[in-house]
């Protein structure tokens, strides 16, 4: 059945209102401070490390993102952990909050489709994430100039821009997940709890669990074990399973983009290294190509989760 009118009628109004709500909400303040403080801590460690070692590195700025000094993890690792938290914080009560405030049926009685409400809320959440992450990105650039004293090159900027975009997409995955849960569960507390559970599972437990599962599916070969080498099949399974976690995809994509020497993600076979000068950086386009499947994976995950949330929401009956 053809629907009358545009499904996006009212989209702009929803985006503007939600964006204003997000940017002025107290929870956003808390999350921003959390991120800024952790970022400072991580960068402080990295800057200290970098000043000690070298000033000749052509990718000094990028090193800032990836270098870690124990006990602090690298800036990218911290973001991989914190961005989901931020996105969940923004998304866990999008629909059920509206329902509990009894505003949902009043809004849906206006001449708009549910599509506009859902899409508007998602776009506003994504824009909020983009604003905060861009601020953070500028912060890092500023700090780099201040403490390292070397202006970043064009390629460095390009690579760190890719980092920024992938970080936003990564946030989108979690935002879509949180919105899906906010449609499924009527109680925001339940939705938040489930979202945090999934977050812990995927970022902390899954990396430990996937090797175990992989070795059950494809048991290690004794011949390889005798040589002290991992079995290729097991390794492949392990990688495939690990990539089910968006955290892993984000980490891999960032590795490819921010460490220009990365030639392949995962196991490297000897034929891939033919003619390669080890340790030489890849051109920007090549690095992007390596990260491409991971980036597409993140985008696909976002779309899938959003569509799921959309379908469940369309079928839901709204009674005040």
């Amino acid at each position: 059945m053809r629907r009358e009118g545009s499904p996006w009628q009212g989209l702009g109004a929803v985006v503007l209102k939600e964006l204003a709500d997000n940017l002025s909400s107290a929870r956003m303040r808390v999350l921003e401070w959390l991120i800024v403080l952790t970022a400072f801590a991580a960068l402080y460690g990295a800057i200290g490390q970098l000043r000690d070692t070298t000033a000749e590195d052509p990718f000094l700025l990028l090193r800032l993102f990836t270098v870690s000094r124990s006990p602090l993890p690298s800036f990218v690792a911290i973001l991989g952990f914190l961005i989901p938290l931020m996105a969940i914080g923004l998304g866990f009560d999008t629909i059920n909050g509206e329902y509990n405030r009894r505003t949902l049926s009043r809004i849906l009685a206006q001449p708009i489709y549910r599509d506009a409400l859902m899409m508007g809320k998602f776009l506003a959440g994504l824009a909020t994430l983009a604003v905060s992450l861009t601020c953070m990105w500028l912060l890092v650039l500023g700090l780099a100039l201040l403490f390292l004293g070397v202006p970043p090159g064009g390629e460095e900027i390009a690579r760190s821009l890719v980092f920024l975009i992938v970080a936003i997409v990564y946030g989108g995955v979690w935002l879509a997940l949180a919105m899906l849960l906010s449609v499924i569960f009527r109680s925001p507390a339940t939705a938040a709890l489930v979202a945090l559970g999934i977050w812990l599972l995927l970022t902390l437990i899954w990396p430990m669990l996937s090797p175990a599962i992989a070795s059950v599916i494809a048991p290690p070969d004794i011949r390889y074990e005798a040589l002290g080498l991992p079995t290729p099949e097991t390794l492949e399974w392990q990688q495939m399973l690990a990539r089910l976690s968006p955290n892993n995809l984000f980490g891999e994509a960032m590795l490819a983009v921010l460490s220009p020497t990365t030639r392949a993600l995962g196991a490297v076979f000897i034929d891939q290294l033919q003619g390669a000068i080890l340790g030489a950086p890849l051109p920007f386009g090549q690095s992007l190509l390596i990260a491409w499947p991971q980036i597409v994976g993140l985008i696909a995950a976002t779309i899938m989760l959003f569509v799921a949330a959309y379908i469940v929401f369309q079928r839901q009956e709204i009674r005040a």
Binding site: E4, Q9, R102, P111
Partner: protein
């Protein structure tokens, strides 16, 4: 005049439970129509189907010449809805809340401001226009909901249990606002389980019971159908042989002497003019003349008495 809402065999099933069981009704332009029935009798479900917020299982509805499932946007553009438990964004002011819905309706910014100010004035919320809705009482929220409908310039206003939980004064105020709305030619659909309110404002009512309309018509019509006679007129007068003379007034079906000089007439219409004339003609002195409007409560009691016990768990 013409009809603005028509329902034919409208049905809603949830699994095996039939919540609305093939109802038919028509609402004329400009009339105030009451949906009356105990909790759980299917009023809200019927309303949701009229707005296209819930899919119907069978039958058809036509709102302003359109099918709310096919053309939800044009129906929702012309119909205002006050849900039974209305909510606003507590962190926003009354104006901001209305501005958001106005934007959703696609009203331009200059017109928006003007329409909002007017609507708030109409429901007497101008003083608190810039206050956060979080500070509003229940009655103020209901009035704000009505302001939204006024701002929308809706041709049909659908109000679901708008006065439940309001104190008597707020209820009276709200009913006055409904009357004003009707005075402007807006068709009003009012759902309620409170009889006297429906009686006070509605031209016609439909009595719902377990998803069916068991009775429909004006309160006087229903009274005649259910109670036999609609009007009870009390006459207090001094005079001789009044009982016989009052009984002769056209329309009076019975006369009862309740006390010396006090008579209760049962009639099929309002017989006060005739009764007054009869007393005067008999050279009596008329002290008091009052009419008991046919009470919906009596109709309701008569209609639902046997079923009331079954409905008890639902009515909680």
């Amino acid at each position: 005049m013409g009809t603005v809402i028509t329902a034919h065999g409208l049905t809603k099933r949830y699994g095996s439970a039939t919540v609305v069981a093939g109802i038919d009704f028509a609402v004329d332009k400009g009339e105030t129509f009451g949906l009356l029935g105990p909790n759980g009798s299917g009023k809200t479900t019927t309303i949701l189907m009229m707005l296209g917020l819930t899919e119907r299982s069978a039958g058809s509805v036509d709102v302003l010449g359109q099918d709310p499932m096919r053309s939800p946007l044009s129906v929702k553009r012309r119909v205002g809805y006050l849900p039974d438990s209305i909510g606003f964004y507590d962190n926003l002011t009354a104006v901001e809340n209305l501005a958001y819905t106005a934007r959703l309706m696609g009203i331009g910014s200059a017109e928006r401001r003007e329409r909002i100010a007017k609507a708030l004035a109409r429901v007497r919320l101008s003083d608190v226009a810039e206050k956060r809705v979080g500070t509003f009482s229940h009655g103020m929220r209901q009035r704000l909901g009505l302001a939204e409908i006024i701002m929308k310039r809706a041709e049909i206003a659908i109000l679901d249990e708008p006065t439940s939980g309001l104190d008597p004064q707020s209820t009276a105020d709200f009913l006055d606002l409904i009357r004003e709305l009707r005075g402007e030619g807006v068709t009003v659909l009012l759902s309620s389980h409170l009889l006297d309110q429906v009686q006070r404002v509605c031209d016609r009512v439909a009595l719902f019971q377990s998803g069916r309309i068991v009775l429909m018509g004006s309160v006087a019509e229903l009274a005649r159908k259910v109670l036999g006679a609609g009007f009870v007129v009390e006459v207090e007068a001094e005079g001789t042989d009044l009982e016989r003379k009052l009984a002769a007034v056209p329309g009076v079906t019975a006369v009862e002497t309740v006390a010396p000089d006090r008579y209760r007439l049962t009639a099929d219409r309002d017989v006060r003019p005739g009764a007054a004339r009869a007393v005067v003609v008999a050279a009596g002195s008329l002290k008091r003349l009052s009419v008991d409007e046919p009470s919906l409560e009596a109709i309701y009691a008569r209609c639902f008495q046997p079923a009331a016990k079954e409905e008890m768990p639902d009515a909680a």
